[in-house]
């Protein structure tokens, strides 16, 4: 595999009525990462379709080894800038490390930076992880387009999985709605499944070039 398997995903909820200042602070903080010569790829998405997280903002970085995740750029200064530019305007709601699962996916674990993505969260009953992955593995060969599965390693209740399907448009996501369903054999394993969509924020990326742009 050309990339490390780990992804870090975090999500923020902007304070009500504070959107303008949050957006401005986010742009300044992203600029801090650029000025600090951060080598990590940073994807920033807004949650679009969602029951609980509409307009929340997701920061994510993919393709890491354990060693690279263990060595972020200038963590003390990063935190200082965070406190200055982000924390006054938003609440941190989650921070997770996931492991990419190539045997059940189509793609390399580093999402194509398309303008939209379908983001599915699957929470399993305790102890159902192995059987769930086996079920996904059996249908891996049928995957037609980029479909990236990740298993939660640290950050919350387990077993929990995320599926990311980057697509160019909302229409592309809707046209593939029949492919949302999980294998029939996973029925007794799943406690909860949630499907959301993400909008990429082209002005907030670091070391990531949005697809279709130079």
């Amino acid at each position: 595999m050309p990339y490390g398997p780990y992804a870090r995903i975090s999500i923020l909820r902007p304070h009500d009525g504070d959107t303008v200042d949050f957006e401005a602070g986010s742009v300044r903080h992203i600029e801090w990462h650029r000025q600090a010569k951060d080598t990590w790829p940073w994807y920033v998405y807004s949650v679009w379709a969602s029951t609980e997280r509409q307009r929340w903002v997701m920061y994510a970085t993919f393709g890491h080894t354990a060693a690279s995740l263990n060595n972020p750029v200038s963590p003390v200064e990063d935190e200082k800038d965070n406190i200055l530019n982000i924390q006054p305007h938003a609440q941190f709601q989650g921070n997770w490390v996931y492991e990419f699962l190539p045997a059940v996916s189509r793609g390399n674990g580093v999402p194509t930076p398309t303008l939209r993505a379908e983001y599915t969260t699957v929470e399993l009953n305790a102890g159902a992880g192995d059987a769930f992955e086996a079920a996904l593995g059996l249908q891996q060969l049928t995957l037609q387009k980029e479909t990236l599965w990740y298993r939660l390693v640290v950050g919350g209740n387990v077993p929990r999985y995320v599926r990311l399907r980057p697509r160019a448009s909302l229409a592309a996501i809707l046209d593939e709605r029949e492919d949302q369903a999980l294998p029939g054999t996973s029925r007794g394993l799943v406690a909860k499944m949630s499907v959301e969509t993400l909008n990429l924020r082209p002005n907030m990326l670091v070391n990531v070039t949005p697809e279709g742009q130079p």
């Binding site: 009500d16 969602s50 229409a171 949302q180 499907v195 969509t197």
Partner: protein, 155 residues
């Protein structure tokens, strides 16, 4: 609640001037409100009485049904069997994007609250789906005639 109906995937994917829409949203709406939910639903004609674009009546009954995981197909099969019995406009939608699945919404546009209450006996789902439903919520909506775009309220 802001809603738009009767779209193809392509038309939903091409809203008018999204950047300017967002700018105006930030200016006029976000300072005064909290966005709680945004979903995309698919109309289910085989379960419904109507064409998927609600009649813009002053009132509507709005029912949300959350199922246990994996119960979508038997739920739709049971509702389809009951479809010939539907009398008034009854529109079923399946959530495609925007939260926990499976989730369904039923809209029954009606002229007034009296009409909604007179049909309370029709609120119930078929007995066959009892074991499939995790949660069912029934609410009513009031149309806002001064806030419609390309919609003429029914008189």
């Amino acid at each position: 609640m802001y809603a738009t109906f009767g779209h193809t995937a392509a038309s939903l994917s091409n809203p008018v001037s999204p950047a300017e829409d967002e700018q105006n949203n930030v200016l006029n709406v976000l300072p005064h409100a909290q966005f709680m939910n945004n979903g995309v639903y698919e109309f289910l004609p085989a379960l419904s009485h109507g064409n998927g674009v609600p009649t813009p009546t002053p009132r509507a009954e709005y029912t949300t049904v959350v199922l246990i995981y994996g119960a979508g197909k038997p739920f739709e099969t049971a509702l389809a069997l009951e479809q010939p019995k539907l009398h008034g406009e009854t529109l079923w939608y399946r959530m495609v994007l925007g939260g926990d699945t499976p989730c369904y919404v039923r809209i029954r546009p009606r002229e007034n609250l009296g009409a909604i209450l007179d049909e309370r006996a029709d609120q119930a789902l078929p007995d066959k789906v009892t074991g499939l439903v995790m949660k069912m919520t029934v609410e009513t909506l009031n149309l806002r005639p001064n806030m419609l775009v390309n919609v003429n309220p029914e008189r």
